[in-house]
Symmetry: C2
Subunit: 555 residues, 2 copies
């Protein structure tokens, strides 16, 4: 047995849905040549990451080994696969390989950050391959919910790995390449060491439905709608946008795209030739001049995002357009768990306008991920020694391992940070790597464990008390302590202003404090904080965050 | 036409799901004698109400008319109908009428607040009625997901109103009274002016399923499970708790109830006689001594609540119990929109322990609310002049009005604050009343619009900068300005500590400031805030909340 080994290390995406980042390596232990597959983001929420702009995988481990990194391969252009590429480029520096549509979008991102667009290399699909150190990597077209999605064939002296990326089995995907059973079966020929496989829909027991199945129901719906017809889907689901637009045209409507992402995606699709016969569209200005029943708007914001077109229309107006009684709004999408509140808010706003809303209706949406029977199909086509589930929360990965075993394949549950050695007959854990999340917060990156966001959450839950005291040259308080509060009721139990009660209690504390306490900033601060907490608790029943500022006039 | 009028005024629950509070009145305009039906709470979330403990309807309008208020009627013991009774008792003072089980729980709440338990009067069901000023009110048993739920017949000289409260049409409800078609049909005999009707499930097009249908699937599931079996449901769903417990016993398991609410509900059910043959239960201590396959835990926390038994078990341990590989955890419940994140967190924690989790499986749960066909049935039984939908978001109410019209009944959409005059042939809006939400925040009540929670949200999104400056007797700065930050990155663009950059920029501002600015607290504060915001924006890309404290040493 050679001393070289083949390793797999997820830095993101294994144990969560989002911020995919999977490392493969081949070479002597610790000196492997590395490639990275996908480099995505995940989105913040008020519960755990208030105020954060974007969540990136912590790539410290990889950045420390940038000299070992040969290349980054991006399987498709969804944000959870592509979104961190420009953010992390400086730290990694490696060339980025993708197919034309994905490259087009990757270059736009690089350019926004002032990085060289030339770092993004466009590659052709399998059987063409890219050499990256010990690896030969091929992009195998696969159906998903965005153009030119690809699984990867990753060959090395350590054996063949098939990395599905996100996929569904769709023989009529409307835009782009149909799932090709023969092609995928052919990948199994040399024997496949491991199949890294999408797990998102492992709990969905029905066979997946094709993108093509929604066209007729959508067309019928548009045809029987009376007022303006407005619909939303992920802008990147170019096939769906096309289906919607064609339904509009068939019903005698002019189509208007609204929202920056919607226009950018269609632009990229046309530029790269993946979209050939998209109906001509009109501007919002032109749409306003037409009778409502002759207009279809296709808008961004299927997840209730606050700044997207759908939310703005729900708030009243977007680019001069307003909705009204008799209009119909279709969510041609599924609400991602966690986004329900935003979507429901919009639905009720539309309801108040008299707009009929259709949401959560399976006739008008299909998933882009393989359901359980389709995962079975993939297992059977590839016949790997081991299935290593990815792109899933822990429960998805665990269930997918069970599924692999029920298909008499090996299965291994590997979460972020588990470095798997694939060299032997059975994969084994080689090492545990520290991984985590990096927050883009305003213009800076902060670690998830830095405490910055934790402090914000605490202020949101508990309120904030600020205390100022000034001490003179003899460590005697000069005047009374001064309090300010934020996020706390202004009066409580005693009906006196909370700040007055606090200042009084703090004053008394200072009056009782001995010289040792008054002379020691830490002791004094601790005492003041304790009194402020207790006093706030008594008055309004909350234990606030407390900031103490002690100013000493002594020279 | 008499000068008396019959009015309906929802203060909560119409345009939202939660904090139900519906006022009815009869008498001369402005001098109506009033009754209140239900007085519930709704639950806070991190998105809009971080740190808030409970959300109550704003009852200012009613409190200002407490002399006109005859009584409060509570239809059933769910928190969104009963939860605010004790919180609001001081402001309203009226007697509270409910059936035995609801009374039992209402008295516990009153007693916790030091209010007289005697204010809660237990009434018998229809045809017995309670006189309350001009109203005669009867509690008509109806099936729902908690014992002794009742619709109300509200008679006055203004005509009959039927208020369904929350309901489903269930002829085999396991615990409590079956839906009695003849009884409900008989209410229509004298003619019904208006039907105030539950709207929760108006978008569910299938006929509702009976509580009894889940017993067999649950029993089969428990029987084929190997390790410990743990299940959760709303504690108040006593029928479900009984079904679960009986399934456990049938599978040879001893049943242990965990979580305060679970034990309290079963206690109240037994005390009031609504639950007669509940299997005997064992303590957690005893459960620990038994083989795992002989134990069933029924626990609180079906919505992923952080402090409930399920979340604590997911965190590792609760009352000495731990779960492990081979155990099964059943959510015999539906996740309420907005609670997904908490539930998913728990599911993944269990997955990490090797526990099999079953969630979102219709075989093991049925809704407590009437689906669309069941609403049709109710419409047809009661044959009201007008249906006024309640217990729903705007979209539910709007759809329910459409349904009423399709059943050839009048329908009116009334949201919180719309006072409806029911006197004429057609209901009409009499007045718009200001309504809203009151937050229980620690131990104090604050208005939703007071800005307290808004400030907390802003600190969570933007971080907080605190600035201190001291000015001497001549309005000259004494030393440098002092900054503290909370919830902001400690360094940014310049790689110097953020507070140093802020202090430097603020210093420069002070150096440039003229006497007029230095002598005017408002001007000075405004200037310092502006500089701090701009400087923070430059460094870390965020515009923080800023608190400025100016101390003047002048006498």
């Amino acid at each position: 047995m050679s001393s070289e080994r083949l390793i797999y290390l997820p830095l993101g995406g294994a144990g969560e849905i989002g911020m995919n980042a999977y490392v493969y390596g081949y070479g002597k232990p610790g000196k492997e040549r590395l490639i990275l597959v996908d480099l995505g983001v995940t989105f913040p929420d008020m519960d755990g990451t208030p105020g954060v702009d974007l969540i990136l995988p912590d790539i410290t481990w990889l950045a420390e080994r940038r000299n070992q990194l040969e290349a980054v391969f991006i399987t498709h252009a969804h944000e959870d696969h592509l979104g961190a590429v420009a953010h992390c480029y400086e730290k990694l520096g490696a060339p980025i390989y993708a197919r034309a549509f994905t490259s087009n979008l990757a270059r736009r991102k690089m350019s926004e950050f002032g990085h060289p667009e030339s770092a993004v290399k466009t590659v052709s699909p399998w059987p063409e391959v890219t050499q990256a150190g010990p690896f030969s990597v091929g992009f195998v077209p696969i159906s998903h919910s965005i153009p030119e999605s690809s699984g990867l064939v990753i060959d090395s002296a350590g054996g063949r790995i098939v990395h599905t990326a996100d996929f569904k089995i769709d023989e009529t995907p409307v835009v782009g390449e149909a799932f090709d059973h023969d092609l995928w079966a052919s990948l199994a020929a040399p024997g496949v060491k491991a199949l890294m496989c999408d797990s998102t829909n492992v709990f969905s027991t029905n066979e997946g439905r094709s993108e093509a199945t929604v066209a007729t129901p959508i067309t019928e719906l548009v045809e029987r709608s009376k007022g303006m017809f407005i619909c939303t889907t992920f802008a990147s689901n170019v096939a769906r946008v096309k289906t919607l637009a064609e339904a509009g045209v068939r019903a005698g409507r002019s189509v208007c795209l609204m929202g920056r992402a919607m226009r950018r995606m269609i632009e990229a699709s046309v530029e790269t030739g993946v979209l050939k016969d998209f109906p001509s569209t009109i501007s919002p200005e032109d749409a306003k001049g037409l009778p409502r029943e002759n207009v279809m708007l296709i808008v961004t914001g299927s997840q209730g995002e606050r700044r997207a077109a759908s939310a703005q229309l729900a708030n009243g107006k977007y680019q001069g357009m307003t909705l009204k009684e008799g209009d119909t709004f279709l969510f041609s999408s599924k609400t991602i768990p966690g986004n329900e509140r935003g979507v429901i808010r919009i639905m009720n706003q539309f309801s108040e306008m008299g707009v009929d809303v259709i949401e959560g209706d399976d006739r008008y949406h299909v998933s882009g991920h393989a359901n359980r029977p389709d995962l079975d199909t993939m297992h059977k086509l590839i016949k790997p020694q081991t299935v290593i589930p990815m792109h899933g929360e822990h429960r998805h990965l665990r269930e997918h391992v069970k599924l692999a075993k029920s298909n008499r394949l090996g299965g291994m549950l590997a979460v972020n940070g588990m470095m798997i050695d694939l060299s032997g007959n059975k994969p084994k854990v080689a090492e545990y790597i520290e991984t985590g999340r990096t927050y883009l917060d305003g213009s800076v990156k902060i670690g998830a464990m830095d405490g910055v966001v934790r402090d914000r959450i605490r202020m949101a839950l508990n309120g904030h008390v600020m205390i100022n005291i000034i001490l003179d040259e003899d460590d005697d308080p000069l005047g009374e302590p001064w309090c300010e509060t934020m996020g706390l009721a202004t009066t409580g139990r005693s009906h006196a202003p909370l700040v007055d009660v606090l200042e009084e209690d703090l004053s008394q504390f200072l009056g009782r404090a001995n010289d040792k306490t008054l002379g020691d900033d830490d002791k004094l601060e601790e005492g003041l904080r304790r009194v402020a907490r207790q006093s706030t608790q008594n008055e309004v029943g909350k234990r606030p965050e407390v900031t103490v500022v002690i100013s000493r006039l002594s020279a």
